[in-house]
Amino acid sequence: MSELRAQVVATAQALFAAAPDWPAIVAAGFPLLLVPESAGGFGGDWGDAFAVLQVAGAEALAQPLAEAMLAAHLIARAGVVAPHGLVTIGSGGGTIRAGKFTGHVAAVPWGRVAAQVVATIETNAAEPVLLLLPAGAVTEGASPAGEPRDRLDYRGVPAVRLGDADHALYGAFLRVGQSAGALGAALGLATAHVNARVQFGKPLAKLQAVQQSLAVLAEEVAAVQMAGAAAAAALDRSGGAYEMMAAKLRTNMAIHRGVALAHQVHGAIGFTQDYPLHRLTRRLMGWRSDFGGDSWAEMLGEQALSERGAGLWADMVRRGDG
């Protein structure tokens, strides 16, 4: 890890562990991590973002950092001057006439408190467009973890076009980063719990069945951390769509298997409001559906089926070879 990244991670750890409010996160500069220095940002790379998001996931940070980080990146990439206040991200549909947008954006993280939204919008055109929208009329909703997921409705509001890019894959990557941290933290809680909890006259950790369960959980944590780190490396080389899809799919599998095991070894203790495991696992289970969920599998499969079987391997290794 570079010295700079180690520093950023250390700052994030200290700050996020203290359950900061949003202004504290803004003051520390984290939302501008992926904005180039020339645009007034921090100039971090995707590897830095992955590292910071892992810390956010591990600390169950209940703030829209991932969303704001990506929104700021997309705005800077389009060469638009960054607006003030929280900018979050979302997807929706509608029409654009003479630069005015009428339609909606669904399930927007922290939509109710956002000043603006970067939204991928489906219109009648073949490809979606990426728009920067102001605050809309809010219908409140909530994720499984109880975080805001709000519908925003618009009627003839001015929209700034940021390009044609679909941000969903980048959103998927954000969730991989958060999941890597959260699943790792769940493993940490589970390990501490089985060492401390005595049943049958000994710590649960001494039971072979429990050891084997935690080994599988550790394998899943390893898979997500590796997939996320490799996807970040691919993004930093250029490209990365294939890798983000693969990483999100693998992460979804790991959450399915890992969350169940983390809860299993905790027994009823892990199923209470007081015990911190649910702050990780409820978010993890919800993140499986965010930004494409398992639907990326069809796209990745279609890509594989577009060439002969032998092409699958050639295509996979070509992406990493120097």
Partner: protein, 382 residues
């Protein structure tokens, strides 16, 4: 946050693409005609001609010193060659053990005389080795080995039995873990010996596996006399050496690429028959995601090993996840395609084969339970 696999992704160095196209050209020119069943068995299929051709082209003993017939290439170059051979389903079984673990063990622990005797032949693809670990009473519990070597003037007298020895019937030598100190227990008093299999007193008998194939053997030592020069490494150091050997055995790409031929055949069959559907696409997409992740984990682990470190826990993680992936592969095919398992097509033949043999993936080279025990130790639970 707990991490037991804090490895950075391996970035293949410049020149990797060129190396890859070089080994692909070799494979295209030398791969014997065979069906997908053979390709799905890659590192269990022995073809001495193919191994000699690999050796002649410099693709064996790649990282070993030139003085012993090697080519002094970086370890990750060898990794690229291995993954290309496995992805193509090349018959690499004859030389596999010698190139993967016996040769490297000799380089680490052997004498110059032992290196001179074995390594050049191994690098030519002419001298093959087998693994002498399991015994009737020592499977997962390897420290229970009872086969013994007794010190006698000028050498050692060996008695006992090894079991489940893959390829002993075509190997020239066995690297055997033996109890060299009478009355010793568990990991103490064990030593490794490299024993020529044409030595008098050795009997090798086939153990036919469940599909009717001959891969396993049982091997009996009956007052077998070997010289002092058969001892590899330190007397009594066998347990530590075997641990190092197992890291070599578990960290390679063969732990997730054994049955790659099934995925290749599935895609070809789906394209040819027009049986593409949404479920098939999604299944293949998820398998690709797993394959890609496993490859990243395997490369990172191999790179750690190449850097001189001992990735015992990481290797166990890659092997267990890889085995699980490869055991679900045939089931995933069954889930998305209704096939008559009558042997009539290549896809059906390779699927039928893997349905039978895939349970062995989590047995060979360390059982699932042993691997998870190693990981649990890494977590501080044992």
């Amino acid at each position: 946050m707990t991490a037991v696999f804090a490895l950075p992704p391996h970035v293949p160095p410049p020149g990797t693409a060129a190396l890859r196209s070089e080994i692909r050209s070799f494979i295209a020119a030398n791969l014997p005609a065979g069906d997908a069943v053979s390709r799905a068995n890659s590192w269990s299929v022995a073809d001495a001609g193919f191994s000699r051709a690999l050796g002649a082209a410099g693709w064996l003993g790649m990282v070993w010193p030139r003085a012993w017939g090697g080519h002094e290439r970086p370890a990750m170059d060898r990794y690229v060659v291995l993954e290309e051979l496995l992805a193509a389903g090349a018959p690499v079984g004859a030389h596999w053990i010698a190139d993967r673990q016996t040769g490297p063990l000799l380089l680490r622990y052997g004498t110059d005389a032992q290196r001179q005797k074995y390594l050049p032949g191994m690098a030519r693809g002419e001298v093959y080795a087998c693994i002498g670990l399991s015994e009737p009473g020592a499977g997962s519990d390897l420290a229970a080995v009872r086969s013994r070597a007794e010190k006698v003037p000028g050498g050692w007298r060996i008695n006992g039995q090894k079991l489940w020895t893959s390829g002993a019937h075509r190997a020239h030598a066995m690297l055997a873990l033996l109890r060299s100190e009478a009355g010793s227990e568990r990991g103490a008093g064990l030593s490794q010996f490299l024993i020529d299999l044409d030595t008098p007193g050795i009997t090798i008998r086939p153990v036919i596996n469940l599909t009717g194939e001959h891969d396993f053997n049982e091997l009996f030592f009956d007052d077998v006399m070997v010289g002092d020069d058969a001892l590899v490494g330190g007397q009594g150091n066998g347990w530590a050496q075997v641990t190092a050997e197992l890291a070599l055995e578990r960290s390679g790409p063969e732990r997730y690429l054994s049955s790659h031929a099934l995925l290749v055949t599935l895609i070809d069959a789906a394209r040819a028959s027009g049986s593409e559907n949404a479920a098939l696409r999604a299944t293949i997409g998820k398998l690709v995601a797993e394959l890609w992740t496993l490859r990243q984990m395997s490369m990172a682990t191999a790179a750690k090993l190449a850097g001189g470190e001992d990735p015992v826990v990481e290797a166990a993680i890659v092997k267990d996840l890889g085995n699980d992936f490869e055991q679900r592969l045939p089931l995933a095919v069954q889930a998305v395609l209704d096939l008559d398992l009558d042997g009539s097509t290549e896809l059906v033949r390779v699927l039928s084969h893997l349905l039978q043999v895939s349970p062995s993936f989590s047995l060979r080279g360390g059982t699932r339970e042993i691997l998870r025990g190693i990981i649990a130790r890494g977590l501080g639970l044992r």
